[in-house]
Each structure stands twice: as structure tokens, then as C-alpha cells.
């Protein structure tokens, strides 16, 4: 398997937080970066896109490129941050003009097309709202339209779905698919998200982060084979708990995640096992990480 990015022992040290990541972003797929607030997702994305400097370690892009200061690499990465990506006094026209200056591969016609699709108006209209007067969702749409209007090989999006309504999230998932299939196998996406349930359709590969480290990664289909969702009656919970990775219970039932290799033993103690969704998997894996960190 070819990788769009190989991250090797990448670290970033702050006074009260250390990021220490080794991971891969497979080429030709959409990768979700999943983690709780403060897990280090934005820090990692900022480093990968040249917004922040790393303390040590390497990231190798497209097999050989390493310098995020290199304009050749900048042009191949389409980056968009979560909030206020553009100055608030900019209008769509300013966005189009400035993106054309700042990047070699910006397609103004494509930008206008995406703006129309998302009902933002036209960058050529005389009367336009500036970013300050747009809703959070429309600001995000404008930023996504600008980044998707560039001919890039890797999209890196920090929380692209956080301020979008459910319909817009669905459209975003479709756009991810279109982006990937336009040059099948050549383009890749990395995005961070809290709304994994809404973005599951757009996720091929998942990287789970907690406390600045990668705690699990793999293709979603493989992870769904590796882990099972376990649930049952509360009275059987104590017998199932030692076999489970994460466990939560109320007065009537319990639920959690376990390794698939434990399924026979779990069924023997009355548990019901199922194939988890990515959302259930995420909750289970992150809960386990939180418990481990608290020990």
C-alpha cells in the first residue's frame, strides 16, 4: 500500500502537552483523525500543513517530499482550518482573488460553481456579504469551496463538519467521494472530526488519538473485524467486564467494546456481540484511552 503521508516519531512539545505521533495516511483514501478535545488533532494537522513547526521527527509526503516550506508541496496540499480561515472583512470576491494569488492551482470557475452549489452567492456579484456577516456554517462552506477549487493531491481539513448542518455534512461526504474518485487512487483526504457518526460514510481509514498519541489506526473495515460491540443485561455485566476493553453500564444493561478474539468467551457469559459502527468503535477506544490515562 502506498502512503500519501508517513509520519515518523513526529513530536511537538509545549509546557503542558507533548504530541508524539507515528502514523500513516494511506494514498487514495479518506482518513479520519478521531479524538477528544485536546487530543492533539489540530496540532498534528497544523504541523503537517506547515502552520506550526515540529520539535522533532519527520513527515514524508507523496513518497519523497519533506519540507512544508517548499511551494511544490504547498501546492499539492489543500488545507482548511476549523474556524475563521479567512479574514472577516473578506468577501467571496476577495477570497477568489487572494486564493488565485496565494496558490498556483486555484480554479476561479470551480470556486464560483461550488459557491453556487452551497447557495453562498457568486464571487462576481456586486453586492456581497463579508465573512463577518456570514453564519459559521456559511463561513465554513466558503472555506471548503475555496480549498476544493484547488487542484490538489491531499486535502487536510480540520473539523470541516463541526459547523455544518446535517444536509451540508451529507453533501461534504459526497464531495469527499467525488474528490477521491476524480483521480482514483491518486488523491487522499485527512480530516479531523467530532461528528464521526455523520462522517462515517466518508471514512475509509481511522486514526484515533488521545493525549497527544496515536492509540489505534487502521482501515475501518479491518477495525470492525478486530473489535466487537458487546452488550447484555446488567446482571451479567460483572462477568463480561474483565473481557472487555471499555465498559459502561446502567441499572438494566451494559455496553462496550471488546477484541473479537474474546467473542466466544463473552457469548459464554450471556453477552450479545455485534459488528460495531465507527461511532461505537470510537467511543469504546477513546473511553479505554481515558481510563488508561486516569490510572
Amino acid at each position: 500500500m502506498e502512503n500519501a503521508v508517513e509520519i515518523k516519531d513526529l513530536t511537538k512539545k509545549y509546557k503542558d502537552f507533548t504530541l508524539d505521533v507515528s502514523a500513516v495516511i494511506p494514498k487514495g483514501f479518506s482518513t479520519a483523525l478521531i479524538g477528544a478535545n485536546g487530543a492533539g488533532k489540530t496540532t498534528l494537522i497544523d504541523i503537517l500543513c506547515g502552520v506550526s513547526a515540529r520539535t522533532s521527527g519527520d513527515a514524508v509526503y507523496f513518497g519523497s517530499m519533506t519540507d512544508t516550506d517548499d511551494d511544490g508541496l504547498r501546492n499539492r496540499i489543500g488545507y482548511c482550518s476549523s474556524a475563521n480561515f479567512f479574514p472577516l472583512d473578506w468577501k467571496l470576491k476577495t477570497v477568489a482573488e487572494c486564493m488565485a494569488i496565494g496558490f498556483d492551482n486555484f480554479d476561479r470557475a470551480r470556486f464560483a460553481e461550488l459557491c453556487a452549489k452551497w447557495k453562498l452567492g457568486s464571487p462576481d456579484e456586486k453586492k456581497q456579504k463579508n465573512m463577518m456577516k456570514m453564519s459559521d456554517g456559511n463561513r465554513m462552506r466558503a472555506a471548503l469551496a475555496a480549498v476544493l477549487a484547488r487542484d490538489t493531491d491531499l486535502l487536510v481539513l480540520d473539523e470541516p463538519a463541526s459547523s455544518l448542518d446535517p444536509l451540508a455534512r451529507d453533501q461534504l461526504c459526497e464531495m469527499f467521494r467525488e474528490y477521491l474518485t476524480e483521480r482514483d487512487g491518486e488523491r487522499s483526504i485527512l480530516f479531523s472530526t467530532h461528528n464521526i457518526a455523520d462522517m462515517e460514510f466518508a471514512t475509509d481509514y481511522a486514526i484515533f488519538m488521545a493525549n497527544g498519541r496515536v492509540i489505534e489506526q487502521g482501515f475501518v473495515e479491518d477495525l470492525k473485524e478486530k473489535y466487537i460491540l458487546v452488550h447484555g443485561d446488567a446482571e451479567d455485566g460483572n462477568r463480561a467486564k474483565p473481557l472487555m476493553m471499555s465498559y459502561s453500564a446502567n441499572s438494566t444493561s451494559y455496553e462496550g467494546i471488546a477484541l473479537t478474539e474474546n467473542s466466544a468467551n463473552l457469548e459464554a457469559v450471556g453477552a450479545i456481540t455485534e459488528r460495531p459502527t465507527l461511532q461505537q468503535l470510537s467511543v469504546g477506544i477513546l473511553r479505554k484511552a481515558e481510563e488508561d490515562a486516569g490510572k
Binding site: 497544523d46 506550526s52 513547526a53 475563521n84 480561515f85 479574514p87 494569488i101 496565494g102
Partner: protein
């Protein structure tokens, strides 16, 4: 692999960061400065007319008799210059992250800031010319005349040089207050004192050269500090 790092030109960098081109920025700044000056001068004239019960030409003449009008002239470009200087686009500000990913990266940022300095200087020259024109036509009077206008321009260069040294201060209140106090202390005193010091322009020339050297040195220090502590942080 051959690395490719080509900063955008000063004009492109200005357009990218501010959304306005070189000429637009200079003319915009100069227009704000002249309008601000006119507004403040008219306000001051009205206060004198109402307070002393005199007519417009006489009130303007009264202002011209003291350096008070020259202080009003200092306020306009000085305040505008401070506002522009303090726009730093750090990572936490809207646009801050975008600007770190565009062509040329830090080189483009350096060209943008250099463009800001050039625009401020050119807008000051335009403002100075406009102030002299207003003085000649009698719409607004400058006590120190041409000498005061030249003093204003050269002292602004010196003040920009000094303020660039304090730009790395992270506390926005301290930075804002410090910049305003520094800017007014330098420009007001120079604009009023330099015309009194000498009949020739030698003190102006010395202030201008010192200011230009200071601005060059402080910019160099600022860029080095900014790259290490803000850009790459």
C-alpha cells in the same frame, strides 16, 4: 529534489494579506488620514468659534498662532499608522493559518510587512502634501508650516522604527497602549520642537536618517523574533 520557495512580490503579498493592492492601500491610508485631519481640525475650529464668539477665518488664524493645530495634524496619520502596524495576523487571528500555507510562506509575510512600511511612508508623503495644500488654501493652518510637515514625516519613520521593536509584546493591551504613547511622544514632540530648533532642515535630516536606520534594524530584529517565536511556534 529541487526546492521551490518563491515569495510573492510586495504588491502581491499586500493584496493577499489585506485584500487591497499597493496603490489602493496607499491611497486608502492617505484618504483616511486627510479626512481624519480635516474632521479634527473642523471640530477644533468650531470649538474656538463657539467659545470665543468669532468667525471661521479668525478662528483658523488663532489656531495658526500656536502649535495646537500641528498636534491635530499629528494625530491623524499617527493613529492610522499604529492601527496598520498592529495588524499582525498571528495564528489565532482570522486568516492567520491561511497565510502560513500560501506561496512563499514566511518570505511572503516579510514582503507584506515591508509593503506596509512602504505604504505608510508613501501615504505620509501624500498626507503631508495635502496638509500643505490645505494650509496654502487657508482651510486648515499649520503653525510650523513646511518645516512641521517634514518633521511629521521624518518623526513617523522614527516612531515606526521604535514601535517595531515593541511589536513582539504578546499582551495586546500593553502593546496597544505602549504603541500609542510611544508614537505620540515621538511625533508630537518632533513636529512641534524641530521647527523651533532651527531655521534649516538639518535636524529634520538627522531625525529622518536616524529613523530610517532604526526602522531597518528594528524590522530585522522583528522578523527574526517573529519567525522564531510566532511563525514557527
Amino acid at each position: 529534489m529541487q526546492e521551490n520557495k518563491s515569495p510573492l512580490t510586495i504588491s502581491q503579498a499586500l493584496k493577499l494579506y489585506t485584500g487591497t493592492g499597493f496603490a489602493g492601500t496607499v491611497l486608502g491610508l492617505a484618504a483616511y488620514e486627510v479626512l481624519f485631519y480635516l474632521g479634527a481640525f473642523v471640530c477644533m475650529t468650531l470649538m474656538i468659534m463657539l467659545g470665543e464668539g468669532i468667525l471661521y477665518p479668525e478662528a483658523v488664524s488663532n489656531i495658526a498662532e500656536t502649535p495646537a493645530g500641528d498636534c491635530v495634524m499629528v494625530f491623524a496619520p499617527t493613529l492610522i499608522n499604529i492601527i496598520v502596524l498592529l495588524s499582525q495576523y498571528t495564528k489565532d487571528k482570522p486568516g492567520g493559518k491561511l497565510f502560513r500555507t500560501v506561496k512563499g510562506g514566511f518570505g511572503t509575510f516579510v514582503n507584506y510587512r515591508t509593503g506596509v512600511y512602504i505604504c505608510e511612508l508613501l501615504s505620509m508623503l501624500l498626507f503631508g502634501a495635502a496638509a500643505l495644500l490645505l494650509d496654502i488654501t487657508g482651510m486648515a493652518k499649520i503653525h510650523g508650516g513646511l518645516s512641521a510637515v517634514i518633521a511629521l514625516v521624518v518623526s513617523n519613520i522614527a516612531a515606526i522604527g521604535v514601535i517595531t521593536f515593541i511589536l513582539p509584546v504578546k499582551n495586546e493591551f500593553v502593546l496597544g497602549a505602549g504603541s500609542v504613547i510611544t508614537m505620540f511622544a515621538i511625533t508630537c514632540s518632533c513636529t512641534i520642537l524641530l521647527p523651533m530648533l532651527s531655521d534649516n532642515l538639518i535636524p529634520h535630516l538627522v531625525t529622518g536618517i536616524a529613523g530610517a536606520v532604526l526602522a531597518a534594524v528594528s524590522s530585522k530584529v522583528y522578523f527574526t523574533h517573529y519567525r522564531k517565536n510566532r511563525w514557527d511556534s
